[in-house]
């Protein structure tokens, strides 16, 4: 929350910028609650630590509620006193919907993590880091100058590194965090270099100003500007896990605690994508001929690599469920890139398709992670084969997961997934990117293979070979031997927050399937 860097740009008259507190409330509330949690953690006895989780939930709900007055119109604040059109913080339709997405995503992550923080994860640190990251993520879509954008991106990312490495004493977790950290820092360095080049070429950090000034950069600065644009994009491509900057994803997701993987796959992606949209569509439209084809190629590569790797996942490998979701999220990132590439060819309202798709993806992907978290409670290895017979064991969870997977695949009954894909296709076709649409069509088919394979596993009869082999006298010992250290009966009680998360995502998914307009609305309006 340090947008005051822009003050330096103003020279004359009053230097004090006015602040619209209502506009900045959502990220501010998240940040304030983060501090409250950090402080409360110091004073709460260990037995009362679960309270921190509830404070976090309340804070996120409050931040979401603070979005309500912002749902229509556009409000700007931290504007230059000399030039009121150049603002650092603007809440328009785009910022509103992405803020709702990241805060909602953080809320669902919090629900997923409620039980874990009581058992495995250090509660105080977890909640503080989650809220800080969410505050950064909520700030980012509203940021309208490059400095705020980079700061917001780092506020969102830095806590995420720590969250990934939070599983104490887990080698995989710290390795994942280190991988994530090193590659992310490299990307940030590259991006900052790009930003400085752009600043050198245009003399401003405000996105709208950059847009006008980039259009007529003096000839000798042309190369600097172009290099700056490319380097900035490379930085964001990493954040969105676009190929060839995707390699950190699977290991990071598997090493991270499951709720954190869910958070990264949805909120982390939303952050990267909103940043990418802001710099491409708002700041660099003058260079559309550079980033348009580049993003189109990147989209095709990303979806192909992600889906090809997902297909190759062996279902018996440890953590193959999360690994599959990780690769699938790479593939989905490819689809999300398509409308941004299309925007280069036919106007910036195409990015609405990305927003609509991201909404659908956020809901169903978090839902899938919620069910995965539920299954992981009984079967910590979380292999795809562990999902066999889930329908017999927990019919509702299995139906929900099947629905989420089919939404991701884009086939009925996952109607919202289908229509989200249709909007993306429609953006590509409208922009004349026929080849990209065909590549995506093939990818949709490839993706169906692994989504449907997983769906089919859910409804297979449970493995009967194991059950009769267990002696009736010592069932708990036998189960403990076969399914890891948690020696519980097969059907343990589902923690309420987890059940709420599954129910919430499933309900939203079903409602959106009946009324796709709620999400697709953003594909047809001007967002900025």
């Amino acid at each position: 929350m340090t947008p005051d860097v822009t003050i330096a740009a103003a020279g004359t008259a009053s230097l004090v910028q006015s602040v619209d507190w209502v506009a900045i409330a959502p990220p501010l509330i998240a940040a304030a609650v983060a501090l409250v949690v950090l402080l409360a953690d110091l004073f709460l006895p260990p037995a009362r630590k679960p309270l921190l989780g509830w404070i976090t939930l309340a804070g996120l709900v409050a931040a979401l509620a603070a979005l309500v007055p912002l749902r229509t119109g556009s409000r700007s604040t931290f504007c230059l006193t000399a030039n009121p059109d150049a603002c650092s913080y603007t809440v328009d339709q785009f910022a509103f919907v992405i803020q709702a997405l990241v805060l909602g995503g953080a809320l669902l992550t919090a629900l997923l993590a409620m039980k874990d923080t009581e058992e495995k994860l250090p509660a105080g640190e977890f909640w503080f880091l989650l809220l800080s990251s969410a505050a950064g993520a909520a700030l980012l879509p509203a940021a309208r100058d490059l400095a705020t954008l980079v700061v917001a991106l780092e506020v969102a990312s830095l806590p995420a590194f720590a969250l990934v490495g939070l599983k104490r004493g887990d080698r995989l977790s710290s390795e994942a965090a280190l991988k994530f950290f090193l590659s992310s820092v490299t990307a940030t360095a590259v991006m900052l270099l790009g930003v400085s080049f752009v600043y050198a070429a245009t003399g401003t950090l405000h996105l709208t100003e950059i847009a006008t000034k980039l259009a007529d950069v003096p000839g000798q600065l042309g190369t600097v500007a172009e290099t700056g644009v490319v380097l900035t994009l490379v930085g964001f491509a990493f954040k969105t896990a676009a190929a060839p900057f995707h390699f950190w994803v699977p290991d990071t997701y598997v090493g991270a605690p499951l709720p954190v993987a869910a958070y990264l796959s949805v909120v982390g992606k939303a952050v990267g994508f909103s940043g990418l949209i802001l710099v491409t569509v708002v700041a660099f439209p003058a260079y559309a001929d550079v980033w348009g084809p580049a993003l189109a190629v990147l989209a095709a590569l990303t979806m192909t690599i992600g889906n090809a790797a997902a297909v190759r996942q062996a279902s018996t490998r440890a953590h193959s469920a999360v690994r599959l979701l990780a690769w699938s999220s790479v593939g989905q990132a490819g689809y999300l890139l398509v409308p941004i590439a299309a925007a280069a060819y036919s106007g910036d309202n195409k990015v609405g398709a990305t927003v609509a798709y991201a909404l659908m993806y956020a809901v169903v992907n978090l839902g899938a992670f919620a069910v995965a978290a539920l299954v992981a409670r009984g079967k910590p290895l979380n292999r795809l084969t562990d999902y066999r017979g889930l329908y017999a064991e927990r019919p509702l969870a299995a139906l929900a997961l099947a629905f989420f997977l089919l939404c991701l695949a884009g086939l009925p009954p996952g109607i919202i997934g289908l229509f989200a894909k249709v909007t993306v296709f429609s953006a590509a076709v409208d922009a004349g990117l026929g080849w990209l649409a065909v590549v995506m069509a093939v990818n949709v088919v490839v993706a169906l293979y692994y989504y449907l394979r997983w769906t089919a596993i859910l409804f297979r009869a449970p493995e009967t070979a194991v059950a009769p082999a267990e002696p009736a006298g010592e069932p708990s010992a036998a189960v403990g031997a076969s399914s890891g250290p948690v020696a519980q009966p097969v059907r343990s009680r589902v923690p309420a927050p987890l059940a709420v998360a599954v129910a919430l995502t499933a309900t939203v998914g079903v409602v959106l399937s009946g009324l796709p307009q709620l999400a697709l609305h953003f594909a047809s309006v001007t967002l900025f």
């Binding site: 086939l411 009925p412 289908l418 229509f419 169906l448 089919a456 307009q517």
Partner: protein, 516 residues
């Protein structure tokens, strides 16, 4: 009326959800399995009655007019309307779908295919019915795609869970193949919708392609055509079909052949012909060429399968025969004449009735013998069905001669009209090329007759074995499930005007667009 059509599309979906819930008190029947199977029969029966009422209430004086229409805005962002309606082209297909699904539900009630419990089976069957009916009832391109996709998941699970040998691979082949086709089709539909500014089929058909440049039409027809050709299936894209049919349970095969394939040809008639006539004009000769190649290929494959010592599977044989029959349908469509298209639509319905019956019969044979392998069935001299189960044998012979297009039965008119249309194709299409195609197709009818007669000889005739298990003749429920198909085959053969009277005005209007 308009509620009736919406009712027909929506109620199976509600029924599918209800099938998953426990039965309410009073409807529990003898057990949960029996209750849910009965639920399936009830829901499909209600839909059949509704479809018949719809057909009776249909204004037969104006079959070219869209009737029972509903038009509600659904997704303004994509300009998608819930636009439903039937005319003379779609009405017979709606009734056929309702009838076949009901017969399948009835058949399953007495003879549930081996596999997991019937709860999911009934639910999937109902979703499948809803998707197929929706395909024939919707008048919006995006909804058409949605309905087209809706049948994939249920059919996948029907094959993969209740199928025979090799079912997993066959189910995958089915769904991946058809999905690839339909996603490519989506690109074409979007291209048309975006360039013309509307997804409404009626408005687009009235425009008759005037709002679209020829290049857009060509690309769109190529994309849509590939998707529909996979579903139909057209000759080089057919390879999913034999596997899917062979592995599917009996009712799966019946519905796959009876109604799912029709979605492809229906799409050609409803979308490609009227909306992008110039594009269709470009591709019509190629379509016709592939169609006749399919006719010949299908019959040769069947002949090879029917030959002694080739271990031909009867279900696979009928699947290949479907490739041939759909070749006639495509030939009729490619002629772009009212005669040809009417023939295509007629052959569509006839194929649904006859092949549906054939798959029922072969399924029954397979249940009795435990195999559909022709060599095992026939043994040295023949399976002697006439002697061992005379009614079953007689019915099989009836279905076979109906399928080979005996005049007086349903199979005849469609193929004859299709060839007749291709004999004198629409203006601008190369007459010599089409004459060649007709000549080749005529040869195909001969080959069709050849292999079907070989099948009849090997299955129905032969020396009656003195020992061996007794073979049950047609059971009551089988009779109930099959006799409507037999009756309609005879009716459509003797009184083709029943169908042609419905389709002809609608076809004339479609081909003429807003000009008439």
């Amino acid at each position: 009326m308009q509620f009736l059509l919406a009712f027909i599309v929506v109620v199976p979906l509600i029924g599918a959800v209800a099938a998953l819930l426990p039965a309410p008190p009073g409807l529990r029947g003898k057990g949960p399995d029996q209750a849910v199977l009965r639920h399936g029969v009830t829901v499909t029966g209600v839909i059949l009655v509704a479809a018949i009422v719809l057909a009776l209430g249909f204004d037969h004086g104006h079959p070219s007019k869209m009737q029972a229409t509903t038009d509600i805005q659904w997704i303004p962002a994509l300009n998608v309307h819930l636009h439903l309606g039937v005319d003379g082209i779609s009405l017979p297909l709606v009734v056929l779908t309702a009838l076949l699904t009901f017969l399948c539900a009835l058949y399953s009630y007495f003879k549930m295919p081996p596999g997991p419990g019937p709860k999911a089976f009934v639910a999937l069957l109902l979703v499948l019915e809803s998707g197929t009916l929706a395909t024939f009832a919707v008048l919006d391109l995006v909804l058409f795609f949605l309905a087209f996709e809706m049948v994939l998941i249920p059919m996948y699970f029907l094959i993969a869970r209740w199928g025979g040998a090799g079912r997993t691979a066959a189910a995958w082949k089915f769904i991946l193949y058809t999905l690839l086709g339909s996603v490519v089709m989506l690109l074409g539909l979007l291209l048309i919708g975006l360039k013309a500014g509307t997804f409404d089929m009626v408005a687009l058909a009235t425009d008759n392609g005037r709002g679209l440049t020829t290049s857009v039409q060509v690309i769109a027809v190529l994309a849509i055509g590939i998707g529909l050709a996979v579903k139909t299936p057209m000759f080089p894209l057919h390879s999913w079909l034999p596997d899917a049919h062979t592995a599917a349970p009996t009712v799966g095969s019946v519905l796959l052949a009876g109604v799912l394939l029709k979605m492809g040809t229906y799409g050609f008639v409803r979308i490609v012909l009227p909306i992008a006539p110039h594009g269709m004009h470009t591709f019509a000769p190629y379509l016709a060429a592939f169609a006749v190649a399919g006719i010949i290929y299908g019959s040769l494959a069947c002949l090879a399968l029917a030959k002694q010592g080739n271990k031909g599977d009867l279900k696979r044989l009928i699947a290949y025969s479907s490739v041939g029959h759909m070749g006639f349908v495509l030939l009729g469509i490619a002629s772009m004449t009212p005669t040809g298209v009417n023939g295509a639509l007629f052959a569509n319905i006839a194929h649904g009735l006859i092949t549906g019956l054939l798959f029922f019969l072969v399924g029954a044979l397979k249940d009795r013998y435990g195999t559909a392998d022709l060599d095992t069935l026939a043994g040295a001299t023949g399976a002697a069905l006439y002697g061992r189960a005379p009614r079953l044998g007689g019915l099989l012979a009836f279905a076979a001669v109906a399928s080979l297009g005996l005049p007086g039965l349903a199979g005849f008119w469609g193929e004859m009209l299709a060839m007749f249309g291709a004999f004198d194709p629409a203006a601008g299409l190369s007459r010599p090329a089409f004459l060649t195609f007709v000549a080749i197709a005529a040869l195909g009818t001969l080959l069709t007759a050849a292999y079907l007669l070989v099948v009849v000889r090997r299955v129905c005739m032969g020396g009656k074995p003195t020992e061996g298990p007794q073979l049950a003749d047609i059971q009551g429920y089988e009779f109930a499930a099959w006799s409507p198909l037999v009756a309609l085959t005879v009716l459509a053969g003797l009184w083709p005007a029943v169908l042609l009277g419905l389709t002809d005005p609608a076809v004339q209007k479609l081909l003429a667009g807003g000009k008439s």
